[in-house]
């Protein structure tokens, strides 16, 4: 990320935000910094507090404690209409009784801009979202993707200090979603707008955001670049919410180099990426795509790998997802393998005997949280 964008005091800063509804705490002591021009995604399951956080930034909810600052200016006590924000909703939320042009020009009109200047800006915006000449149409006549582009234009035309995106692509079909991800991200970067994205879709978060903040139970569990969060999850929740993980539970061996896991036929040890303090209980997470499979009944004598049997095989186009039953572990593990077998089928088939393995450095130690 360019250093220029990390100007001190720029962007959005949340400090010590706490919000409860009755006895239920929706957001607990949350700190978050979105640097100027940065896009941060709040990712989490429904009810994790991500939407409440967004609504607190928008001013629709008042936090019990904590402050919201934008570009160094405290805005906690300002009503929504004085915060100079842009917001895109999942259901587009276009004014149905206004034309596309009137929708886009709404914020400018509220700001008291003259009609001629407004029209010019509206036309520029219509060009930018590829809706030239559709200004006089009512939103209901547009497709979902077009409506979402109008919503985006409506929120960007006022040059907001922060752009808030509330599940912006949730209502679109998958193929359209991908192109809109690029479009929104491209525009946000070109205009250098600070943005906060709320989503429960990990793919959306990872492909659009500079940083992903994984939330659960009103807290941010981990925040970092998408690759960092995905490859180095700190907790079980993050490892399992972002993609799939095989989690092993156990204690460090005497010399601390391995994880001792109990199995139905006695304990066995898994080599750890880094040595750990002796006897400490912890979890090891291994991503399915880091696991390897080789056909055969037993391991090849190198002493590593587990003998198993394919009990589930799902064709997913560019890769295949397998469920492999490992008797030594008394459980099933998930394995993703690139499609490299003969065309028209998965490489391994149901019931096939395989040996499952992974490199020790592909394991990640996570907390039980």
């Amino acid at each position: 990320m360019p250093v220029a964008q990390r100007e001190a005091g720029k962007g959005l800063l949340l400090t010590g935000i706490h919000k409860s509804y009755g006895k239920v705490a929706a957001v607990k002591d949350l700190d978050l910094h979105v640097g100027g021009g940065e896009l941060v995604a709040l990712l989490g399951p429904s009810g994790c507090g991500k939407t409440t956080t967004l609504r607190i930034v928008a001013g629709f909810e008042q936090p019990d404690t904590g402050t919201v600052e934008i570009d160094g200016e405290e805005i906690s006590s300002l009503p929504p209409h004085k915060r100079h924000l842009g917001m895109v909703f999942q259901n587009y939320s276009l004014f149905p009784h206004r034309t596309v042009a009137e929708n886009i020009g709404f914020g400018l009109r509220m700001a008291g801009m003259a009609k001629s200047a407004r029209d010019e800006r509206i036309n520029t915006m219509l060009d930018l979202v590829h809706l030239q000449g559709r200004g006089n149409v009512f939103p209901a006549k547009l497709s979902g993707g077009q409506q979402q582009r109008v919503a985006l234009a409506r929120s960007l035309v006022v040059n907001p200090k922060v752009l808030l995106l509330d599940e912006p692509l949730g209502a679109l079909d998958k193929s359209l979603r991908e192109s809109m991800q690029f479009e929104i991200r491209g525009m946000q970067q070109r205009l250098g707008i600070t943005a906060l994205l709320v989503t429960h879709d990990q793919e959306e978060a990872m492909s659009m955001a500079d940083k992903v903040a994984v939330m659960n139970g009103g807290r941010i569990l981990q925040i970092g670049a998408p690759a960092d969060i995905y490859d180095r999850p700190k907790s079980r929740f993050v490892a399992e919410f972002l993609g799939t993980s095989n989690i092993f539970e156990g204690r460090a061996s005497d010399d601390g180099s391995a994880l001792v896991v109990s199995g139905p036929h006695g304990p066995f040890s898994l080599t750890l990426p880094q040595p750990q303090a002796h006897g400490q209980p912890f979890l090891l997470s291994v991503r399915p795509e880091r696991m390897t499979l080789t056909p055969g009944e037993t391991s090849d004598g190198r002493g590593s790998g587990f003998a198993g049997r394919v009990v589930g095989a799902v064709f997913r186009g560019n890769y295949a997802a397998y469920q492999v039953d490992v008797p030594a572990l008394g459980r099933e593990l998930f394995v993703y393998r690139q499609a490299d077998g003969p065309l028209g089928s998965t490489t391994y088939h149901l019931g096939q005997a395989v040996v499952l393995d992974w490199a020790p450095q592909d394991g990640v130690i996570v907390s039980g949280e």
């Binding site: 928008a58 929504p80 209409h81 100079h84 917001m87 909703f89 709404f106 409506r154 929120s155 006022v158």
Partner: protein, 285 residues
């Protein structure tokens, strides 16, 4: 799939008999109790002992006295409608947006007056506003604000108040239904874009709830137009078409004129229904 010409459909078996048969009771009922009386009424309004005439309609629509009555009827209904909108909108807004779990109670309180007989309700207003009624007793004897009781009953104001009291629920429920359907995120969008609360209401909420106001207004207007008991008991000299029809029937015994007046009332009602149909169609388009 190259041949796209539609195949001639085989003649449909005539299964019309059963539906017709099933509709018979309703059709008979409507003919006996609706179409026939209406037809009879229409005939009475144009028939005389020696032929037929439109003279009654001519005098109704040209005579200053009758035009005045028609005007007063429409004006009264329009006034009642306007007041109902002004009172009903805030109630509907509160009901949908703020009442929460009290919404059911509010709806009950709204509908409760409708469950009382109209005569009881009207006498209730008498009890409140009579010369020695509750309000005057309070003002004169208890609080001593006034030296002599006000003449409150039998005035157009009280009649309008009584009508509004009965008709406001129709307005509230029509508006509430439409308000319920307005996504609050639309209002939030307006606020984020810089509109304060008043501006948001003016730019978003009100325009989107116009349909509810329209439906409620037509309902209230039509019912007020035909109101009779309230005006007889509290009207204070207001002359409206329903009162005139009653007079023509019972005092003057001019059935023909009464019929013609009721036809005029009917035409106004049909015009209202037509207006509502337009409203609904526009919405559907």
């Amino acid at each position: 799939m190259s041949d796209m010409t539609p195949q001639p459909t085989p003649p449909r078996p005539r299964r019309l008999l059963l539906p017709l048969f099933l509709a018979l009771p309703a059709v008979v009922f409507l003919i006996v109790f609706f179409v026939a009386p209406l037809f009879d009424n229409g005939m009475r309004s144009i028939l005389t002992q020696d032929g037929w005439t439109v003279s009654r309609y001519v005098s109704l629509l040209t005579d200053r006295f009758y035009l005045g009555i028609i005007g007063q009827t429409v004006l009264l209904s329009a006034g009642v409608t306007l007041i109902s909108v002004v009172i009903g909108y805030p109630v509907a807004y509160f009901l949908v947006r703020k009442a929460g779990r009290f919404a059911g109670l509010i709806i009950f309180l709204l509908i409760a007056p409708l469950l009382t007989s109209i005569i009881m309700r009207t006498f209730g207003w008498q009890v409140l506003f009579a010369r020695r009624g509750l309000v005057n007793t309070l003002l004169v004897d208890e609080l001593g604000i006034l030296s002599a009781p006000l003449r409150l009953t039998n005035s157009p104001e009280i009649a309008i108040a009584a009508l509004v009291h009965v008709l406001v629920p129709f307005m509230v429920l029509s508006i509430a239904t439409v308000l319920q359907g307005i996504d609050t995120r639309l209002e939030e969008s307006a606020k984020i874009l810089g509109a304060n609360r008043l501006r948001t209401f003016w730019e978003v909420t009100l325009p989107l709830s116009l349909d509810g106001i329209g439906t409620g207004a037509i309902l209230v207007f039509m019912i007020a137009n035909g109101s009779f008991v309230t005006l007889v008991l509290l009207g204070g000299g207001l002359q409206t078409l329903p009162l005139m029809i009653y007079q023509q029937f019972n005092t003057t015994r001019d059935f023909g004129m009464a019929s013609a007046m009721s036809m005029i009332l009917l035409v106004i009602a049909v015009a209202c229904l037509f207006a509502q149909l337009r409203l609904v169609r526009r919405k559907g388009a």
